[in-house]
Amino acid sequence: MLFETKGLTKYFGGLAAVSQLDMHVNQGEIVGLIGPNGAGKTTVFNLITGFLRPTSGRVLFDGHDITGKKPHCIAGTGIGRTFQLAYLFPDFTVLENVVASFYLYPRFHFWGAVFNTPAYCKKEKYILNQAGEVLRLVGLDKAKDELAKNLPHGHQKVLGVARALAIKPKLLLLDEPVAGMTRDEIVFSLGVFEKIRSQGITILLVEHNMEVMSLCDRVIVLNFGQKIAEGSSEEVRQNEAVIQAYFGSENAT
């Protein structure tokens, strides 16, 4: 088991945004996290990546307890993430966005960077190469000199994925990776996710899009911060509780 949460709970004042969530992700899986609006999906992501501290419960990753660690430390353990809104470095070019994201591997030395030592130059060259490769993987290599803020929304989201790949993650968290994309972009993104998986990277994603759901090996359904169902996307679709959560019960007035 690569990743696990145990009794993960987060209160915002009196409101339980996430309560007693137990979930796990196995090595090599693509797992979907779905639920109606306000179910707590993004909160779960923020709890995992350290942007929020859980009220109680634990997050285990790769055999380590990462509960309540700082975001940059969690990134260092090998969890990459994207955001629902396309957060990037807007004033950097596409290439610079990815190059700047290559911070963890290889590490650089302050004085080496300042004095431009041969070792540092070699690292920069390596990073430039790797960044080009990542951009080719996500299909942005043609737009690499474009400013990130000038990209269309779909491309910005893909750039978010490229950025997350730069830290060489073991687990990739994608928050609504295809929301607001056109059909063509969605089809392309699905291919990208497959390729990422084939590189041995495990993916946990939040999504509403049904095509993306069908890519998932397993789907976890949240409602009001609680897990109400888990299984393959087919199973979940038939699940009584899930249907009720999305469409309301028949008896509702």
């Binding site: 957060y87 004033d91 070019t93 290559f102 960077a113 300042v114 400013l147």
Partner: protein, 332 residues
């Protein structure tokens, strides 16, 4: 950038440096040389302020770190009779250490809140200097030794006391070294990370960048150079007073940076040169002279939002065919 324009730029820069080195041949009046020396010192400080601003934090207490350098170097060289050549770097280190200790709590807040906290931090430092009368003097520190003479028998014998021209040359050298260092930091990976943090600290931390640590690093680097410049100023002026490092000078430093343009490395240089020297031309106006400063400020804010050094970029964006023009740095 193609090689030709790069060559042009280098040639222009070299020409400027040569001109600055030849300056004392044309300008004989000590007062004018004095103006050039203070301008050069200010350029170091404002450039170091911009280095901090790269990481998205505008410090409004930067002059206080100049003060730490000035007082530390002044007191230590006076009391312990050490040579200023040693105490000036120590003054820079002292400012850097204070910046790191203050930085850790301060970087918890961002943008305008950081500016507010830095304002109070600056006032606090100046008050501490004022209170430590035993060493820093009641009204100011007097009797700071000048730079010790450089005496290499048969080669050169440079004395500094009461001399403007040697001070000018060494200040110019110091400025060039400091600017070269700051330029390198900005244009390597460290500077890139600072600019990234300024644009989105959340994205920066998701790729594993310790953004708080890098912001403290920006403060440390910036304050080190402010401390060096302050210490240098102390051993040039030989008298320092607390108001020289208080709130108003800090505001002026920010103003020099913004008028020059914070998105370009040349911004602080252009801004400081213009704002220090132009009011000198209007000395005849006496108490109305500050109006000239205000006038320049208003014109720049309305017509050149990217500062004077950014004017070229601005023109290119408006009239040139350059699409996707890159704005280096960030916007607050």
């Amino acid at each position: 950038m193609n090689t030709k324009s790069k060559l042009k730029k280098t040639a222009g820069l070299a020409g400027l440096v040569v001109l600055l080195f030849l300056l004392p041949l044309f300008i004989k009046r000590p007062y004018y040389v004095h103006i050039f020396i203070t301008t050069l010192i200010s350029i170091i400080v404002v450039s170091s302020l911009r280095t901090i601003a790269l990481s998205g934090q505008v410090s409004v207490g930067h002059a206080a770190f100049m003060g730490i350098g000035a007082y530390f170097s002044g007191v230590v060289s006076k009391e312990l009779a050490l040579t200023p050549w040693l105490t000036i770097p120590l003054g820079g280190l002292a400012a850097m250490i204070v910046a790191v200790f203050m930085g850790y709590p301060f970087v918890r807040v961002r943008a305008i809140y950081f500016s507010m906290v830095s304002l109070f931090g600056g006032i606090m430092i100046v008050n501490i200097i004022r209170v430590a009368q035993k060493w820093t003097g009641a009204a100011g520190l007097a009797g700071i030794p000048p730079l010790s003479p450089i005496n290499i028998p048969g080669l050169m014998n440079i004395t500094f006391l009461g001399q403007k021209v040697p001070y000018y040359y060494f200040t110019l050298l110091l400025t060039l070294v400091c600017l070269a260092f700051l330029y390198r930091i900005e244009h390597c990976r460290v500077g890139m990370i600072w600019k990234g943090i300024a644009q989105s600290h959340m994205v920066a931390s998701t790729v594993g960048i310790n953004e708080a640590g890098f912001r403290v690093l920006a403060l440390a680097v910036g304050c080190f150079f402010a401390g060096i410049a302050g210490a240098w100023y102390a051993h040039y002026n030989l008298v320092v007073t607390p108001p020289a490092f208080g709130f108003l000078p800090s505001i002026f430093l920010v103003m020099y940076m913004l008028v020059g343009g914070r998105h370009r490395f040349s911004g602080p240089i252009v801004g400081t040169a213009i704002l220090v020297m132009v009011p000198e031309l209007f000395r005849g106006l006496k108490e109305y002279a500050p109006l000239i400063l205000g006038g320049i400020m208003v014109i720049v804010v309305f017509l050149m939002p990217q500062g004077i050094a950014g004017l070229f970029d601005q023109m290119k964006a408006k009239y040139g065919e350059v699409r996707n023009r890159k704005v280096p740095g960030n916007a607050v």
